[in-house]
């Protein structure tokens, strides 16, 4: 079945540094979604990418979907302490599928 690998597992940065997490799927995806989970909280939907090569921005966050629709990345510019949390990617293999396949997440720690 489809597997979604996410790296790195952990990342510790100084406030103001950039951060990137990468997601790779073993199969072609119909779409990929990104979620953020704050410590002690629940995952919250951030964004969805559907088109090959798509790039979307949310303030300091940039999301990319690969040309082959098998990989994706989330880049945060100039991290802030409010960016702390775990970032998950989740791939949907086909439009008929009922479920998403979540990566194991990247935990980001930002120190001031």
């Amino acid at each position: 079945g489809q597997q979604v690998m996410q790296i790195p597992q952990y990342q510790h940065v100084q406030e103001g540094e950039d951060f990137t997490t990468y997601c790779n799927s073993s199969t072609t995806l119909s779409n990929i979604q990104w979620y953020k989970q704050r410590p002690g909280g629940h995952p919250v939907f951030l964004i969805q990418l559907v088109k090959s090569g798509e790039v979307k921005k949310q303030k300091r966050l940039t999301f990319q979907f690969g040309e082959a629709k098998k990989n994706s990345s989330l880049h945060i510019t100039a991290t802030q302490t409010t960016d702390v949390g775990t970032y998950f990617c989740a791939g949907q293999e086909s439009n008929s599928g009922y479920a998403l396949n979540f990566g194991k997440g990247t935990s980001l720690l930002v120190t001031p």
């Binding site: 629940h42 919250v44 939907f45 969805q48 559907v50 439009n95 009922y98 990566g103 194991k104 997440g105």
Partner: protein
């Protein structure tokens, strides 16, 4: 946040006892999911439902059963709780669209002694 509640929010139980967790939604979404979250494992799907009385297994379904008798409620039962089922359990819902964006509940922390 979407209208999702989970109960109880915290529970301590003993090995061998049955436990039922409840997920309730007010969004009338078709799909509902149960996940468990453990350090180093991310979110793992236990069971999901694609309609009333329509359920299916996820990747870690052993030792768990589910029921959905109404659109708004999805119950997860640990038939005989074991210490390996100590975890944080999240319910999620998703509307009937092509893209299965999921909205998560606040979670239930379960400790099996």
């Amino acid at each position: 946040d979407a209208g999702i509640t989970q109960s109880p929010r915290h529970k301590v139980t003993e090995t061998g006892t049955p436990v039922t967790l409840r997920c309730h939604q007010t969004e009338n979404h078709r799909y509902m999911y149960w996940y468990r979250q453990d350090p180093g494992h991310g979110l793992r799907l236990i069971h999901y439902s694609y309609g009333v009385k329509d359920t299916d297994k996820g990747e870690v379904s052993d030792g768990y059963s589910v029921s959905r008798s109404k659109t708004e409620d999805f119950l997860l039962t640990l038939e005989s709780a074991t210490s390996s089922q100590t975890s944080v359990y999240f319910c999620a819902i998703s509307p009937w669209t092509e893209n299965r964006t999921q909205y998560f509940g606040p979670g239930t922390r379960l400790l099996v002694l």
